[in-house]
Amino acid sequence: MKKDYKILALKILAPFVAIILAAFISSLIILAIDKDPLQVFYTMFKFSFKRIDSIAMILFNATPLIFSALAVSIGFKMGLFNIGIEGQYLIGTFMAALVGFSIKGLPAVIHLPLVILAGIVGGMIWSFIPIFLKVKRGVHEVISTIMLNYVAYSLIHFLIADVFRDRQQSLVEGLGSVLVRTPKLAASAVIPKMHGFLAFFGVQLPKHVYLNWFFPISVVLAAGIYYLIMRTPFGYELRAVGHNPEASCIAGINQGRIYFKGFLLSGAVAGLVGLSDLLGYFRYMDMDFPRGYGFDGIAVALIAQNNPFGIIASAILFGFLKRGSEGIQALLKVPMDTIVILQSLMIIFIVVITKIINDYVKRLEKREVA
């Protein structure tokens, strides 16, 4: 019984210990560029948590990562490595944008769900290819998803730059340049911000904060996926296949069907990754649409050990690292390159240290039942 508390305490403390140790090692880098580590971290925290807009921004930053990590974790649960979230969300985002700008005159209650659905379908289409190849032809999903990421990059470029480029943008005196982007989305496709809702509770968000309803949606989805994985027969089969495909097969579980369903679900969630940015911020998709959420999602899921609620927490941690670094760059003039090193170091150390602590906890648990 005593050990139970120890395990619980270790589990909760793990990320904090990790952050402190990571900060300690990052300090060496900060010292190397002749800045004061304590001041840097102080500024980072103060900037991030003492301003209401920063807190909202952190949640906004975390939103796409929550979706992305959830998609990754579904793959991990069934023993597959969906490294193709990147391509899936870009295709999903484009599909959503397409439905968003090409349909006009619909009321928002119809248009917005339709746009979100388009994103989901886009992600599913792009996840269908690798899982089809895996189940039917035995192609390893890591290879096919990586390759499809590149295909998606180029396809999106082609679609935005050549096929659906907004040619209505005007040049002033024929000079300067315009964005290479899709037409702007109809107002009915835009996701509402959370300002009104929060104002109801007395929280006044500044106008420039883009926190929107995708954040609560992502939290609800995390809970939903927890329920799906841990409670439903489908989730049960998913986990069984993930841990032991052979025994599952002998128990009458159709492995191929689970792979199909699970991977499509992963792709569907991946399709939502870019929508917070698309429908809540840019309102168009350009050549420069944020990349890399798919890969960050892998790190987020790993830190969280694929636990949906852990994913929310670790995505918020990533959101904080991003917001905090904006603060130290603007206020302390820490160069961008250093910040990238800092962020990467923090993430590496957090991953490593949580892993060590978790392994230790697992050993304790195992000893308990042996």
């Binding site: 300067g176 340049s177 964005l179 050549m287 420069d288 991003k322 603007a330 003039k333």
Partner: protein
């Protein structure tokens, strides 16, 4: 075993605590003067100018560095407090960086590149007392009372001159153009150049190719080199590019075949290798540095004006490069180029900026 673990753990804790307190002592003093206290400094306020590059901007030997040069010059001349920032990997925080500079009390903030168009429009609305400079982009519907100044360039006019230089220098009667990503901006370079060549020699044959349709087209020297070799094979002996870092491939191809090349944006003779220098005819200069400097100067002298500021041949916003390396190549045609420049400034020649205008222009030649 347990004892060893305990020892290791306590050692780590000691180290962390030690470092924290060690740093703490150092940090005590400077902390008193952290940024936020600067706002309260009563003494005479220095003008603060900020600049946000585009992704990977700093060190491009061209556009972004040129903007930085202008900023540095202004810092020296006017005793400013300046800062320059770069957005993170995805570039999603362009808007945040602009806003943070505005919040931090910067008086004039530049966004380098048309990607900043929408973001500057938003932030400028939130901070009406702060002035903004936008390079290469145009915020719609603003006038001189606005706090945004859009700095635009007539790249086609500069390209017209180097086009003429290419035609005058060509022995084969064939010249080529290589663009980066196909877009209205790069098309201005193209048609200005073609028009200049045709104007100088109506019988000249021209080739133009684009590296691609995506942003990657500006960093694909291999593809640019291939295109250049193709044009050289077809007979072109002077090549001009508007393709950012891809252009290096074109210069390499031209040098290897002892053909002439023309650089773009900044004076590329200065950054070329010794081997390439004798083969660089000239460069089409886009003086981003001048535009940044001028905007700051106006601000310091309280003459900042919103709206659109267009830089052309008339105010040396664009032009062609002459330096110690291309003196021999260019000196004999320079009188002709100066004459053309005059005509453009006086409006005697209307340089085309897109395909339609170019076709019209060709008709006037006949």
């Amino acid at each position: 075993m347990k004892i060893r673990k305990l020892l290791a753990l306590s050692l780590v804790v000691l180290l962390v605590v030690g470092l924290m307190t060690g740093c703490g002592q150092k940090a005590q003093e400077p902390e008193e003067s952290t940024p936020e206290s600067q706002q309260q400094e009563p003494e005479e306020k220095r003008i603060k100018v900020g600049l946000v590059y585009d992704i990977g901007g700093r060190g491009d030997l061209s556009f972004n560095d040129s903007a930085y040069a202008g900023l540095k010059q202004a810092e020296q001349d006017f005793g400013l407090e300046v800062t320059d920032l770069e957005p993170s990997g995805g570039g999603e925080d362009r808007e945040q960086l602009l806003r943070l500079l505005a919040e931090d009390g910067y008086d004039l903030i530049f966004g380098v590149g048309f990607m900043f168009t929408d973001h500057i429009a938003k932030v400028a609305e939130e901070f009406p007392d702060v002035k903004f400079g936008l390079i290469d982009g145009a915020v719609e519907d603003i006038d001189s009372s606005s706090n945004i100044s859009c700095l635009l360039f007539k790249e086609h006019e500069g390209s017209f001159l180097v086009g003429a230089a290419a035609a005058l220098r060509s022995e084969s009667g064939k010249v080529g153009f290589i663009g980066g990503m196909k877009s209205p901006l790069i098309e201005r370079f193209e048609y200005g150049y073609l028009a200049g060549a045709k104007y100088a020699n109506p019988n000249i044959e021209t080739f133009s190719d684009y590296v691609g349709t995506t942003g990657d087209a500006f960093k694909d020297p291999v593809k640019a080199k291939e295109l250049a070799l193709k044009q050289i094979k077809a007979g072109a002996d002077v090549l001009y590019h508007a393709s950012g870092a891809s252009g290096i491939g074109m210069i390499e191809a031209a040098t290897a075949n002892e053909k002439l090349s023309i650089g773009v944006d900044s004076d590329q003779s200065l950054t070329a290798t010794d081997e390439q220098k004798p083969f660089i005819l000239t460069s089409m200069m886009k003086r981003v540095d001048n535009s940044v400097y001028e905007t700051i100067k106006n601000f310091v002298e309280d003459k900042f004006e919103g709206g659109y500021r267009v830089f052309g041949l008339n105010d040396d916003g664009v032009g062609y490069a002459e330096n110690e390396f291309n003196k021999d190549l260019i000196s004999d045609i320079q009188p002709k180029l100066e004459e053309l420049k005059d005509k453009v400034i006086k409006g005697e020649i209307e340089v085309p900026a897109d395909k339609n205008e170019y076709e019209e222009f060709l008709k006037t030649l006949k």
